[in-house]
Symmetry: C2
Subunit: 206 residues, 2 copies
DNA sequence: GTCTATAGCGGGATAGAC
DNA sequence: GTCTATCCCGCTATAGAC
């Protein structure tokens, strides 16, 4: 892979096109010809820069994954109070999701198709485990103080993620079922941040 | 497509195998050879019975969709009280999901890949719109009675679905991040029914 | 009905000219 | 670096024997 800055530009152009196509069609559904066309080049250039479709995919996937997880979950690292961490997490997630509404669907798809790959990827992402541990500690601290009812940290985390991420995963389905335009739907979602925080806190506060 | 009962058995054997393979690999990832092998036959037989891969997929998809939607959403049809409909809906969803944990991922994937097909499918599924309308009415009734705060029915429905369905979509990811075994994770999920109902009601009750 | 053999096409990757 | 031409494999679907 060439390293000077002009090559770098070309690589990024390809990666951007690849991202678009992979997100729309998935790994199997996307062809190298699709990607080349989207980037305005011919397909041998893809191999010149990245050697294989799989290599391009790995980079695109890794970046998408980091945007949704690594860049968001650092908000629950450290020993801040649970009632600071919850709004920070919801905020980070919702901002990311409104900007990239199709990323979760992409990530979840590919994880389901080949979970093995995910396992490898996590070997180098230990800080997600740390984030989970720190979050657990913040939960236990509040339970001991008696400010919240006893609750499994994992359950709380699942609830937050559910309320934030699911509406983006289900967007095509929900819009169709309830006859809501995508525009109107996104408006509902952008108002969701505060509703989710309230709902979560109402659920756990004593 | 032959219609006598022996043929019917053969067709069902193929459809069952196809379901397994399509759910695991998706439409593009699954090959007709995979399906044939899973069914213990050779691939020309698939074409003999169903003429094409696409036809087999349509049937499998339609059934999966109905199991998760049509068979569940009838619980919110009619003019029962909202406080009967919520537990009925959560119950129906969770039972279906525990039995078929991989179905939502399959459905959402394929909807994302080709939303056009969904639109056609819905033309014949008007009762989902009726279900939504009846659910809305039950919500408005409680708001007028003053038993719940004003809430958009669609938001309420999204929250319920989020809390029920997301954990199944995210299972591979969550298990990895939090170092929980699949076994233990499913145990947490099976206890979720009551937690979800409580959380939803706490959120809306005045 | 069920098989073997194969047609026919589409996609990833490479050769080699420029 | 970027292209055209092409190799070659794997997939869906069909032909045709049994």
């Amino acid at each position: 892979m060439p390293k000077n800055s002009l090559s770098h530009e070309a690589e990024e152009k390809i990666l951007k096109a690849a991202r678009t196509v992979f997100i729309k069609k998935g790994y199997k559904g996307a062809t190298t010809r699709d990607i080349a066309a989207e980037a305005g080049i011919t397909s041998p250039l893809l191999n010149y820069y990245f050697r294989s479709k799989e290599n391009i995919f790995s980079i695109v996937y890794e970046r998408a994954f980091n945007s949704l997880y690594s860049n968001v979950y650092h908000t629950i690292l450290g020993d801040a109070s649970l009632f600071e961490k919850i709004p920070a997490l919801v905020d980070g997630l919702m901002k990311e999701l409104v900007e990239n509404p199709d990323v979760p669907s992409f990530i979840f798809n590919e994880v389901t198709r080949s979970p093995e790959k995910l396992v490898e990827r996590f070997r180098s992402k230990i800080h997600l485990l740390e984030a989970y541990r720190d979050f657990s500690n913040s939960v236990h601290a509040e339970v001991e103080k008696g400010t919240i009812r006893p609750v499994r940290p994992i359950t709380l985390l699942i609830n937050i993620q559910s309320l934030c991420i699911y509406p983006f995963l289900a967007r095509p389905l929900i819009c169709e079922i309830s006859n809501i335009s995508i525009r109107e739907y996104m408006k509902i979602l952008s108002r969701r941040r505060d509703e989710i925080i309230e709902m979560i806190e109402k659920d756990i506060r004593i």
